[in-house]
């Protein structure tokens, strides 16, 4: 993993096509909200399928909590669109099928020489893309649990929402 991808540093403002083929900037997707930036191997990996089921469970909370999810893989957009629909995800997927970012970020899983996928990694980000916490998901138990994500988003929101304490007037 790139040395810069640590807590307190700004995550690069990725520019990639989404699952519908539209070019998107990560900063635009964040739109002043906390973000889960989730790199995954691909639709074919049973661990990813299991992890996505967790995230789909969490999206019912995120949809009312002004919090964004963004998932990134080397799958082409049309494959991501089908996978997204199949699992019932309602957030944006970004496709790095052209491998524009995987090496720059130092996030290629080098032990899989067949797919050369993204190393499963989760970043919780502040609204300005500052990294709050990094989760190494190479082993499944290294991934962020939904409870850890709740705790991260609480901390990020508390720090970034100027009206976290209810206004008195």
């Amino acid at each position: 993993m790139g040395e810069d991808l640590v807590a307190g540093r700004a995550f690069p403002d990725l520019v990639l096509p989404d699952h519908a083929g539209n070019q998107r900037h990560l900063s635009q997707l964040a739109a002043d909200d906390p973000v889960l930036l989730h790199f995954y191997r691909g639709w074919w990996c049973p661990k990813e399928q299991a992890y996505f089921r967790n995230l789909v469970g969490l999206q019912d909370e995120a949809e009312v909590a002004y919090t964004r999810f963004v998932s990134v893989s080397v799958d082409p957009p049309e494959v991501q669109a089908a996978f997204r629909a199949g699992i019932g995800a309602r957030w944006i997927f970004l496709s790095d099928a052209e491998r524009q970012w995987i090496d720059r970020l130092g996030l290629m899983e080098k032990t899989d020489t067949s797919h050369r996928p993204y190393l499963p990694t989760m970043f919780t980000l502040g609204p300005d893309l500052t990294i709050h916490r990094v989760y190494n998901g190479y082993w499944f138990w290294g991934r962020a649990t939904n409870e850890e994500l709740r705790q991260d988003f609480r901390a990020i929101s508390q720090a970034s929402r100027s009206d976290w304490e209810p206004p008195q007037s």
């Binding site: 519908a20 739109a31 909200d33 002004y66 963004v70 309602r90």
Partner: protein, 171 residues
Amino acid sequence: MSWLWFDLCPDPATGTVASARVSDANGTPRGVLCAWASDQDRPTPTAAKVDSRAMDPCGEPGSVSLVLAPDGLYLPFDDSAVAHATRMVLAMPPADVCSTLVDGDDRFRGSVTGTHGDEGRLSYDPFGVLFPAVVLRVEAGLLGRMSSPVGPVTQRYGATNPWPWDRFEPA
């Protein structure tokens, strides 16, 4: 938040910032879609707020699925049926334009979903289960392009704004 007044009028209206004639699939004229600046009084009794990104006076022709509540009807924006429709929109392939139509602070009165390409995208409109939907062909001069909503957020950013506008106004 940047929003505009929006309505379907029987004839061209004055003072608009964008407008275009519309017709149905048979080519029958169905009126004029009009947008007005938000800093003026409500231009028609039935005008509602629309996301300004949905409107473009230089916009190319296209098609819209237009959902309009019958006169006098509305749903609270927090109604679970409205929330479910927004979930469905997030799950579907994105359109070139999508905005709910809001009356006052908390009244859902319809939606506009548009495309400059395949009209088939408009064959199912989740908001069409709430109020009647009609697919209309739109001449040039109205329909913009906007990024698809990010999700999974279904809440409005401020109680007066049309979903899916995606950020709070600066304090």
